[in-house]
């Protein structure tokens, strides 16, 4: 539907007048008039013609009435796909509603006309086009009035249903809300937001109960186990006590003790007999040993006297022999020393002579070397002088290869210049018939003579004829070439080019000569003249130091070697003789000390032994007693062995006695302990049994298991509810996405014009934008500035309008003094958004801000007034 014109008759401030608004285009149409013009009157009139019944007398209709009263009338022209229609309504007095086509044919009137309008609006007052009105000062998205809000909401639902299906069906609607609420309530009763048992809830109560019972059970179980254990122990203790108090067992233990004691006593007595026999044997052995020692001592003494006598004789002999040998070796030592000294003197003399002869030989060699060096020095001195002279000559020649080459080139250039000049020159040729002509004072040669420069031609009989070929280019070239050549010859210090060439050849020769002289000098005096002179001085000094001898060095050296060898041999012999003499001296001293010792030992032995016969008698007397003592030892040892073989094992007897005593003591102690244990167990069992612990434990264990099972059931319930809630949330989110997608798709490009990158989310209850996310920061719409809220509200309507258009039901968007809160920048952006929408959407803008909306563009509507 597109609005084409609106005509108000007797409406509000247009009392008694007819105001016709026309010129409404397909896109944006602006009615820009000052305040109090009546723009809102047009707005309300359009609203009334579409949404108020002609029979209505409500406040909205009464508000259309002028102060003077009368019946307000409104007529709008609309274009529909079927053509243009005129809708007219009159209220209050003779109310009427009519629809005509362009031919003036009445299409419908009264209630039929209202039905026709309802159908056009898609459901009357609840129709979607109600969305597209933006009244003065609109800031929020929702109307203030509850009824209006609900109507708008229904309209939005209808609108979106046409795009994305039935909204209630998609999101589950109120049933979904109710189910989610009940799930949340059930969950909240049992669990916290994080899925833990909620304090005070049934689940938490079951968990706490199970824990408390488990703790009680854990505390009680050891007690029950203790009772059970005590009962088992009491059975065992009773059995033990019965065994310990058995009289037969006690008698057996007593008899075993008596027997062990007797056996132990017998073993002890036998042990005493054995000890006595061992003592007797030890004494007999001591007597026999002492006799054997006495005999051995006497025999040893006799042997010592005999040995001392022999030793003394032997020492005497040894001392004599040593003394003689020492004397002999002493003499030999002295002789050998003298011989060695004589040879040493001879060697020293020979060494002196060899040194003198060697020095003389060296002086002779130095003299010959000095002579040779003198000859080389003379030759070198001559060569040096020649070299110096050659180099001086060479230095005086100034010509260089470079200069010579340049001079050659200058000569060539001069030759060329001259040849050119000659080719271009004036030539004269004399063919004298009388006296020969003179050119520049000289006879004019035969044949053509070129005149290159001014010349005087003397002709006999005539005088002198000055011929000047003029200073042409050729002449300049020759002069320049000549100057260049002259400069180079001056540099070469040569009069002419041939002279320069000759000098250069001389310089080359001199260089060769100097090179040869330098090579010879290097050979004769490789280290220079000064070095040669120093060597000569040294050789001459060496030649001057010559002893006066003529002996042959080689012969003397050989004699010295022989003398050395002889001296070494004599010294070795002397040392050997000396060592022998020392050793012989030591041997003699030892032999004499041995003899003194042997004499003293003999004297000692003889003093101890006394007379030889008395000693022999003493030995014989001792030996007579020996057999009797040996028999006594043998007899005593046999008696001991017999006793030992018959001895009982004392350790075994002692162990048996200990064991028998232990058995008796242990039985007594065990009986005592068993009686004590039994008394203690009886007391404990009696006390615990009175408590009925097992029954209590069984009750608690059962209750605990039941509480745990209950907790597990609640946990499963929470799991199921949590899963259900998630499934519901996910399904609703998915449905919302499908549902709001088209709106957001339309809204997003418009939003991007004002807030690039921003995102809007839509609340599924109000079906309107709820939050605006900019730079990742979501903000609720109702806390944003008035300007932003206003802009989002208008953009949302534009998006809805585009949805209508997409659904094939285009409706006009009417903005009545909207954008009152927007600043200049934003208002420009909003104009862009309006134009973007207006490409396929009719937008009627009513504004009093003529200057601000001048930039909006679009078509301008006009209002024509006439009286009625």
């Amino acid at each position: 539907m597109r609005l084409r014109s609106i005509e108000l008759t007797n409406v509000r401030r247009f009392a008694g007048k007819r105001a016709r608004l026309s010129g409404i285009g397909d896109g944006i149409t602006v009615l820009s008039e000052p305040n109090e013009f009546g723009k809102s009157t047009f707005f309300d009139a359009i609203h009334a013609v579409f949404f108020e019944r002609h029979g209505s007398r409500n406040a909205a209709i009464k508000a259309l009435q002028p102060h003077a009263g009368g019946a307000p009338e409104v007529m709008v022209e609309v274009d529909l796909p079927e053509g243009r229609f005129r809708i007219a309504k009159r209220w209050i007095s003779k109310p009427q509603a009519q629809v005509h086509d362009t031919t003036g044919r009445l299409i419908a009137q009264a209630d039929e006309a209202e039905a026709w309008i309802d159908q056009l609006m898609g459901g009357g007052l609840a129709g979607p086009s109600g969305l597209l009105w933006v009244r003065q000062g609109l800031m929020g998205l929702e109307a203030d009035d509850k009824k209006d809000r609900e109507r708008d909401l229904t309209a939005r639902r209808d609108l979106l249903s046409s795009v994305a299906g039935e909204i209630d069906l998609m999101t589950g609607g109120r049933r979904m809300d109710a189910v989610i609420d009940r799930v949340a309530e059930a969950l909240a009763r049992l669990a916290t937001a994080t899925g833990r048992p909620k304090a005070g809830g049934e689940w938490a109560r079951a968990v706490d109960e199970a824990a408390a019972l488990a703790a009680e059970e854990a505390a009680l179980r050891p007690k029950a186990e203790r009772l059970s254990g005590d009962l088992a122990r009491r059975t065992e203790v009773t059995r033990t006590l019965s065994r310990l108090t058995d009289p037969a067992d006690a008698a057996t233990r007593a008899q075993a003790l008596t027997d062990a004691q007797a056996a132990h006593q017998a073993a002890l007595a036998h042990q005493a007999q054995v000890t006595q026999a061992e003592t007797t044997l030890r004494l007999a052995r001591l007597d026999a040993d002492r006799l054997r020692q006495d005999i051995a001592a006497a025999e040893t003494l006799a042997a010592r006297v005999t040995a001392a006598l022999a030793a003394l004789a032997k020492a005497d002999e040894a001392a004599t022999t040593a003394r003689a040998r020492a004397d002999d070796l002493g003499q030999r030592d002295r002789a050998a020393t003298e011989a060695a000294e004589a040879l040493a003197h001879q060697t020293r003399d020979l060494r002196t002579r060899v040194q003198a002869a060697t020095r003389a030989e060296a002086a002779q060699a130095a003299k010959a070397q000095a002579e040779d060096l003198q000859r080389r020095l003379d030759r070198a001195t001559g060569l040096q002088a020649s070299l110096d002279q050659t180099r001086a000559q060479r230095a005086r020649i100034a010509v260089t290869a470079k200069v010579l080459d340049a001079a050659d080139k200058a000569q060539s250039a001069l030759d060329l210049a001259r040849a050119r000049a000659e080719a271009q020159a004036v030539t004269i040729e004399a063919r004298p018939d009388g006296a020969p002509a003179m050119l520049n004072g000289a006879a004019l040669p035969d044949g053509p003579v070129p005149i290159l420069t001014a010349a005087d031609l003397t002709l006999p009989g005539f005088g002198t004829l000055r011929i000047d070929p003029g200073a042409g280019r050729s002449g300049e070239g020759i002069a320049q070439a000549e100057q260049a050549l002259a400069r180079l010859l001056a540099e070469a210090q040569a009069e002419s080019l041939p002279a320069a060439r000759h000098q250069w050849a001389e310089a080359q020769r001199l260089e060769v000569e100097a090179k040869q002289a330098a090579a010879l000098l290097a050979e004769v005096a490789p280290e220079g003249l000064d070095a040669l002179r120093s060597a000569l001085a040294r050789a001459m000094a060496a030649a001057a130091d010559a002893p006066d001898t003529a002996e042959d060095v080689a012969a003397l050296t050989a004699a010295l070697a022989e003398a050395d060898t002889a001296e070494q041999a004599a010294r070795a012999a002397a040392k050997a003789a000396h060592d022998l003499a020392v050793e012989a001296g030591n041997t003699r001293a030892g032999a004499e000390a041995n003899r003194t010792t042997a004499a003293r030992q003999l004297a000692d032995a003889q003093a101890e032994a006394g007379d030889e016969a008395t000693l022999a008698a003493r030995i014989a007397a001792l030996k007579v007693r020996e057999p009797a003592l040996a028999d006594a030892v043998t007899t005593t040892a046999r008696a001991l062995e017999t006793l030992r073989a018959a001895a009982p094992d004392l350790a075994t007897a002692e162990a048996r006695l200990t064991r028998a005593r232990g058995a008796v003591d242990q039985a007594r102690a065990a009986e005592q302990k068993a009686r004590e244990d039994l008394a203690s167990l009886n007391a404990t069992i009696l006390a615990l049994a009175e408590e009925g612990i097992e029954e209590r434990l069984a009750t608690i264990a059962g209750d605990r298991a039941e509480a745990e099972a209950r907790a597990a059931r609640y946990e499963a319930e929470v799991r199921a509810l949590t899963r259900l809630k998630r499934a519901l949330d996910e399904a609703r989110t998915k449905a919302r996405d499908a549902y709001f997608g088209p709106v957001l798709r339309e809204l997003q490009p418009l939003l991007a014009i004002l807030h690039p990158g921003a995102q809007l989310t839509i609340d599924d209850a109000s079906l309107l934008p709820a939050t605006l996310t900019r730079n990742g920061q979501p903000e609720a719409l109702d806390i944003l500035s008035g300007g932003t809220r206003e802009q989002v509200a208008i953009l949302t309507r534009l998006a809805f309008a585009r949805l209508f258009a997409t659904a094939g039901r285009p409706v006009p968007v009417i903005l009545d003094d909207a954008l009152v809160h927007s600043d200049d920048d934003r208002i420009e952006a909003m104009f862009d958004a309006l134009h973007r929408t207006a490409r396929d959407q009719q937008i009627l803008v009513l504004t009093c801000r003529q200057r601000a909306f001048a930039a909006l563009g679009g078509e301008r509507a006009v209002v024509a007034l006439e009286g009625i």
């Binding site: 999101t171 009962l231 049994a689 059962g702």
Partner: protein, 371 residues
């Protein structure tokens, strides 16, 4: 020799705690166990028996609470025309020396506590060959003692407690009593205890079962055995229980009348004296499952104790079930996600169960909201 008649029972488990059960039913259960003494006496008397043989586990604990023990002894003493023979079982074995010391101290004259395996003459020519449990797990065949000699021509009655080698006992212990003990030891009748359900092993060997069931394991009424020895043993079961423990299994499939099946599975009389643990298996559409849950919740308060296990009941979500959640849209989508998860073999059983429970919950909530 005249006929001899006695009542064979066992496993009274007096003083059993019944932890985990709510206080009300717990106290009733404990009281019912004590009341079994009087019901046994009545059964014996009604059957003409003068002796009641209790084949072990008369008491649940080695050291029962003093009042439990004292009241039991008094109750037996009050049935003065009967002789009560108490055999130690594994729960009240001879190792529970304090118990048997107290019984010896407080027992009425008509009670005979068996504390060794010596043969006992019950009546003229009728000898009891007991095998009392020495320990909770004696680890040997105590019934070997039943080979003990008795006077020529005497009737021999074995009294033992424990599992036979063909099966495991009440506590899972491997049996060590040979099934042919009666034949081996020349017994006319072997009265056994330990197995809480009544069972005949051989013509002359019986487990009496407990006179008052204490769990869902056997799902049979509590009974005792009236035994007459006059030639081959004549054994007659007699009901003695107050409570009935039932564990019905309801296997349901789509299309069945759930309410009717449920009504048929539950007892209609004396519901208060029934403990019920119903297990539902099979698969049901969501709507039927919701109806079943509602039916179970409605019947539960009728019973002494009631529990339903629906963990093995699979959800079969028919299209119309999902339609009842919603025909399309977010609720429908959530339901389909949960249904897919409930049948996703790649997920753990726990996750599948959670998804199934969530789906059932969603169904119920959407029906509530619709209402």
């Amino acid at each position: 020799m005249s006929a001899f008649r006695f009542l064979h029972s066992s496993d009274l488990h007096l003083g059993r705690a019944f932890g985990g059960y709510p206080d009300g039913i717990r106290h009733r259960l404990r009281e019912a166990r004590h009341g079994a003494i009087a019901r046994l006496a009545q059964a014996a008397r009604a059957g003409g028996a003068g002796v009641v043989l209790l084949a072990g586990d008369t008491f649940d604990a080695e050291t029962p609470a003093p009042d439990t023990l004292r009241q039991a002894l008094r109750a037996m003493g009050e049935e003065g025309d009967l002789t009560w023979v108490l055999l130690p079982g594994n729960h009240d074995s001879l190792a529970a020396s304090e118990l048997w010391r107290r019984i010896a101290q407080d027992a009425p004259a008509n009670l005979r506590a068996i504390t060794d395996d010596a043969p006992v003459e019950l009546a003229s020519g009728h000898w009891l060959l007991p095998a009392p449990c020495t320990q909770r797990r004696p680890g040997r065949d105590l019934t070997e003692a039943m080979a003990a000699p008795t006077p020529e021509g005497a009737r021999r009655i074995g009294l033992g407690h424990g599992a036979i080698t063909d099966f495991s006992g009440e506590e899972g212990a491997t049996g060590i009593i040979p099934p042919d003990r009666a034949v081996r030891s020349g017994l006319d009748y072997l009265a056994l205890g330990d197995w809480h359900g009544q069972m005949q092993v051989t013509p002359a060997t019986w487990y009496s079962g407990t006179p008052e069931p204490d769990g869902f394991k056997h799902d049979a009424p509590g009974r005792a055995l009236l035994v007459t020895l006059d030639g081959p043993a004549q054994v007659t079961p007699v009901e003695t229980a107050h409570f009935r423990w039932m564990r019905p299994v309801l296997d349901l499939l789509p299309g069945e009348d759930v309410a009717a099946r449920l009504a048929a599975a539950l007892p209609n009389t004396r519901a208060r004296d029934h403990l019920l643990r119903i297990t539902v298996t099979g698969r049901l559409p969501l709507a039927d499952r919701a109806a079943l849950e509602a039916g179970l919740a409605a019947r539960a308060p009728d019973f002494g104790w009631f529990a339903a296990d629906l963990s093995a009941l699979a959800v079969e979500a028919l299209p119309e079930d999902l339609d009842q959640i919603d025909r399309a849209g977010a609720l429908r989508q959530a339901a389909e996600v949960l249904l897919a998860e409930a049948g996703d073999a790649a997920l753990s059983q726990a996750d599948r169960d959670t998804a199934q429970a969530a789906l059932a919950r969603l169904y119920a909530l959407t029906q509530e909201v619709r209402a």
